[in-house]
């Protein structure tokens, strides 16, 4: 469809920044709910940016860079989803379902960068031995430059490719509505992967009751009109109480085991 050099350059600069932001700086701005509307402004459609960003953010719940593991990359995923949604008029969930392959690819780019950057550690060691703070600053700057540039290049490729494919995609979504419907449902279901990952990290067999009572309470609160929009805050209030009780109980039984006189130190 319409390839626009200004859009392309702005997108590259923005991606450079988001790529760095996903591990340092604020670590918040790269999140889809903020990044997608900004990309939307560049592509000339902030409304779509808000819709895609909001839906992507929900999908990303649980897909966090936790414990050194890399989830499908939200920065590249967001860019591709936005190009699909704005340039090819795909509906939000379908664009998100289709962008997943690129997000997965982005995950490998990150892994690759982290491997390459191990080589910089020798440089940092040398700077440390010489008590040279500037050397450490350089190591950080070089790292950020590598990461940002790699992502910027890929963003340009995604933009060019996505725009070129836009017509084909548009035809596809007109003629094969089942494919878009399926992608849509798959995009929506991907949040269950995130929930599953969270459970794997946190769940223990004594927690079934907590899981199901959270499920039940959210259903109840969410179906009462007056409280529905505040469901998750209300859930958090109750959850904090449960956590405090759990901590009191487990530290009490621990202290009792120590003879009942421990001061916790």
């Amino acid at each position: 469809m319409d390839f626009n050099i200004v859009e392309c350059v702005l997108l590259a600069i923005l991606t450079f920044f988001f790529a760095i932001d996903q591990f340092s700086l604020t670590e918040i701005v790269y999140r889809p709910i903020i990044a997608c509307p900004i990309i939307g402004i560049i592509l000339g459609d902030m409304e779509t940016g808000l819709a895609v960003g909001g839906a992507y953010e929900l999908m990303m719940v649980g897909n966090m860079p936790v414990g050194g593991a890399q989830p499908p990359n939200a920065v590249l995923g967001g860019i591709v989803a936005m190009v699909f949604a704005v340039k090819a008029n795909m509906d939000t969930n379908a664009a998100l379902g289709a962008c997943m392959i690129f997000a997965t690819f982005g995950q490998y780019v990150v892994t690759l960068t982290f491997t390459i950057m191990s080589g910089l550690m020798a440089k940092a060691d040398k700077a440390a031995e010489e008590a040279n703070p500037r050397g450490i600053t350089n190591v950080l700057n070089i790292s950020m430059l590598i990461l940002g540039s790699l992502f910027a290049v890929i963003a340009v490729l995604a933009y060019t490719g996505g725009t070129a494919m836009a017509d084909t995609l548009q035809n596809l979504s007109d003629n094969a509505s089942w494919l878009m419907g399926g992608l849509s449902m798959a995009g929506l279901m991907m949040r269950f992967v995130g929930f599953g990952i969270l459970l794997k990290i946190m769940f223990a067999n004594d927690m079934w009751g907590y899981l199901l009572s959270g499920f039940a309470l959210a259903l109840v609160i969410g179906n009462i009109e007056a409280t529905a929009s505040a469901t998750l805050i209300l859930i958090a209030f109750i959850g904090i109480m449960l956590a405090v009780i759990d901590f009191k109980l487990s530290s009490m039984s621990k202290n009792a085991g120590n003879g009942g006189m421990s001061d916790g130190i």
Partner: protein, 291 residues
Amino acid sequence: MASNEFTTYKDTTPAARLDNKTLNKMVWRSCQLQAAFNYERMQSAGWLWSMLPGLQKIHTNKEDLATSMTHNMDFLNTHPFAVTFVMGMVLSMEQQKVDIQTIRSVRVSTAAPLGGIGDALFWMTLIPIIAGMTANMAIEGSLLGPILYFVIAFGCEMALRYGLMYWSYNMGTKAVTMMTAYAKEITHAASVLGVFVIGALISNMGAGAKLGVSIPNGENPIVVQDYLNKVLPCLIPLLFTLMCYVLIKKKGFTPVKLIGLFLVIGIVGAIFGIWAGSYTPLVPVPWDVVA
């Protein structure tokens, strides 16, 4: 490695307490903890860079500064927002010119459990709650969604960085003992909160995953999902989440594999017109698809 040769600093007179300006500077620098992240040493270079303003004030002797910088290049991996807790601790020990091996072991033993606690509290609990609150505003087209998201998330992040830095620096080594003594209990309590919230997210955010089969029946078509709701609302989201959990836990599925699986489930389901949505199934089926 060269850093193993030294066990004590040359100048062992405790340095003066760091002023608030330097501490604040390190709080802001700590945002760059992962700027040079890599698989060999993880956050070490970013850690050292964040610590530099303090280390330079503490170690006026260049040789000691080199020693300190070298051992602060050790492998490090902790939660990026909670890192200031470890920083405050290590700074108070550096200031007291504590034995280097002690600093090293305290750093490692604090960083690791803190990583787990921070993940449980921030990524698993706070972010899902904020996302749940603001994502729908964004989807409905309100700019307030992303703005609120940023203000709350970044506000909590910085409050955490500041609070932990001053708290642990003032408490010094006492904090380590407390933290490590209760690490297991804190993590368990945070997990309880997290699991409870996930339970809520399943029904709150998963409700869109439903069947679209509607069997024509004169005036009152039989919508299968309505019957399912009488058994248990949001049954499908619950089952899919548990399926993901079991596949990850027992079969060692990676997230990528699960995403692939859902692409297949979604598209195959749509071919036969099983899932809700506004589309025409590929295979002609004797029922209608409703949203």
